[in-house]
């Protein structure tokens, strides 16, 4: 019997292809663009139903470009919210109604919307937030600083951290696919360090724009589908809020554990679609190791090359692609043989250093050095990382001009 394959198209007239085809198999062409422009290209290929925006530097352009996609017919619904709090509430409504939903924000916007993130997670809404991190504290900075990511770590959302515009493109597409798995079904925050990616122009490889992800199927949600018979209020109100008894406490508690377990269950999917939860760079035998994510990892890679070529010192980088779920097993495995673990970061508190210490405690006995660390928009030249390492090793620092 001859089998006929039905070709399906989304609302924009793009041919529906499998996530594996879109991410790994489709031919790609080189473009030269910014991280903000790359957000548009990813959302364009993601069969997105709804997006709500609110401007704040440095994500305004990405939000604006998603609006252009709506004009061009690629996004079903798009409007500007009243504030970030409004936006994050409104995208929750869109998601509860069964829409694939994406939004973007930065810094103070993230904090203003904060109440909504644990609500998204508890309601098991696979919303994607593209986070372009920037400084949040006074004295005011609008510049790169990823402190806000620390505040999001325990909201029950997945958190991924892209290093380049290319990775942001791929993560946005993979993010929907992983977040919408029935046994995962939690929000996904795809983060970048604002400006370092959003405003930097670089080469990216993109698949054609006449193909797109399969649309979101809300009936694959592990939650009761919300429709005319099942209103959001019925799910949110009855069991949890109104009944102060042990059953409701137990329900709440077990549900919170379940949300965290769901994030852990994302690991095999994330591993597949991101080609691993971590990336190892440099000499795998080197005693000096950097553990980093996002732009700090990029700077550490540059420093690793500088250490080797200019100082003859071997080093390596273990780059974390996912922060939630945290790749504990992979990290411990990758750090075997390391004598010093440096954690360079773009925030004042060193949240990744804390995470790394927690993961290694009782598993791997190696000194963790939370350095170098910059904040408030400061850049982290590889020369400074090299200097820090050489000083720590008690070697002569000669190469910085």
């Amino acid at each position: 019997m001859e089998k006929t394959e039905q070709v399906q198209y989304n609302r924009a007239g793009q041919r529906i292809v499998s996530p594996d085809y879109l991410l790994f198999e489709a031919p790609r062409e080189k473009y030269f663009m910014t991280g903000s422009e790359v957000v548009k290209e990813a959302v364009k290929r993601a069969s997105v139903d709804a997006s709500v925006s609110y401007p704040i530097t440095p994500q305004s352009e990405a939000a604006h470009l998603i609006g252009e996609l709506w004009v061009e017919g690629y996004v079903g619904v798009y409007f500007r919210g009243e504030s970030e709090f409004g936006v994050m509430s409104e995208v929750a409504g869109c998601s509860m109604a069964g829409a694939r939903t994406v939004t973007t924000t930065s810094g103070p916007g993230t904090l203003r919307a904060m109440e909504n993130f644990p609500m998204w997670a508890g309601s098991r809404l696979p919303i994607q937030l593209i986070l372009m991190a920037r400084g949040v504290n006074a004295p005011l900075t609008i510049q790169p600083d990823n402190l806000e990511m620390a505040f999001l770590l325990d909201t029950g959302c997945m958190i991924w951290h892209a290093e380049t515009a290319q990775e942001l493109f791929d993560m946005i597409l993979a993010g929907f696919v992983v977040a919408e798995q029935p046994d995962v079904h939690v929000p996904i925050i795809t983060s970048i360090d604002g400006f370092f990616i959003s405003h930097t122009r670089e080469a990216v490889m993109l698949p054609p724009d006449d193909i797109a992800l399969p649309p979101y199927d809300p009936y694959r949600s592990p939650m009761v589908p919300l429709d005319m018979e099942m209103s959001p209020g019925r799910f949110l109100r009855d069991p949890f809020v109104m009944k102060s008894n042990y059953v409701s406490y137990a329900t709440h508690t077990s549900w919170q554990f379940e949300v965290r377990a769901a994030i852990e269950r994302a690991k095999p999917y994330a591993k597949h679609y991101l080609r691993g939860l971590i990336e190892e760079f440099g000499d795998p035998e080197a005693e000096i190791a950097f553990v980093a994510s996002g732009t700090a990892a990029a700077q550490a890679k540059e420093a690793t090359l500088m250490l080797l070529h200019e100082e003859g010192v071997k080093a390596r980088v273990v780059r974390l692609k996912t922060i939630r779920p945290f790749p504990t097993k992979e990290l411990i495995e990758a750090l075997r043989g390391a004598k010093y673990v440096f954690v360079p970061e773009f925030n004042v508190i060193g949240w990744l250093e804390r995470e790394v210490r927690r993961a290694l405690y009782g598993n791997l006995d190696v000194p963790v050095i939370g350095s170098p660390r910059v904040a408030g928009g400061m850049t982290m030249p590889p020369e400074i990382i090299v200097k820090e390492v050489l000083q720590f090793l008690g070697k002569e620092v000669k190469h910085v001009v």
């Binding site: 030269f32 440095p58 352009e61 400006f195 370092f196 670089e202 080469a203 850049t379 020369e383 001009v401």
Partner: protein, 240 residues
């Protein structure tokens, strides 16, 4: 000719708002990318305004580029406006802070703006200085000072000799022919420039001519000063 040792050029472009330093960085990176190099460009991360300090950065190399953000230790500094030096309209003080040895400074000026001490220090680390009247060039060839950035980027490629005019033309065309949104402000500025020039193609032609003349002048200067090509050709370098 021996293979140049340098494998990367990090460029810092101190300018003042409105001169098109971000556009120049974008075109430089696009042109270098077209020629087969790895290239990345970015603006200074902040709020710029007309006549206030503005800065952009370009990294060009034969190996993948991971480094991001402001260029703190540049190989090349391109000063777009004399006020960067004379009025301290610069994010760094002095404007050449961090410059690496054997570097290059291109200054848009008709006269020497540096002090004796500046010359002494820069000479001691073998930094070459090209005083280049880019705005004068722009006025003469394009008929507008708005093409100053084209003259400056032409001078950069002429002095470093890493790519030919064909790639520079591609970079300029890619910037002005394709749809491009840097910000609402830039977009409206673009349309204002376009109205002024009446036709887009005319604008591109004038820009290319400006860049080309500057390229030739700087190339001659580089030869006179015994400067070698700054980077190996991308195709001569085995990809890692």
């Amino acid at each position: 000719m021996s293979q140049p040792k340098r494998r990367r050029i990090n460029v810092r472009i101190p300018a003042i708002g409105g001169q098109g330093a971000v556009t120049a960085a974008h075109i430089m990176a696009t042109a270098a990318d077209h020629a087969g190099y790895y290239a990345v460009s970015n603006p200074f991360f902040g709020a710029e305004k007309r006549m206030a300090p503005a800065e952009s950065y370009v990294r060009i190399g034969v190996d993948p580029i991971y480094d991001r953000g402001e260029v703190v230790y540049p190989d090349v500094i391109m000063v777009f406006h004399s006020q960067v030096i004379t009025m301290g309209k610069s994010y760094t003080m002095p404007f050449y802070s961090g410059i690496k040895k054997d570097g290059l400074i291109i200054i848009n000026t008709e006269e020497d703006l540096l002090t004796e001490r500046d010359h002494e220090y820069l000479g001691s680390i073998n930094v070459k200085i090209l005083n280049f009247p880019a705005t004068k060039f722009a006025m003469e060839i394009a008929g507008t000072e708005l093409a100053t950035n084209m003259a400056m980027l032409g001078a950069f490629f002429g002095a470093t000799q890493i790519i030919g005019m064909d790639s520079i033309e591609e970079g300029i065309k890619a910037r002005f022919l394709k749809k491009f949104v840097a910000s609402g402000g830039t977009q409206s500025l673009d349309s204002a420039i376009e109205r002024k020039f009446k036709k887009k193609l005319e604008l591109i032609e004038k820009n290319i001519n400006t860049a080309k003349s500057a390229y030739e002048v700087a190339q001659e200067w580089a030869r006179d000063n015994g400067m070698e090509v700054w980077l190996p050709k991308p195709q001569e370098v085995a990809r890692v």
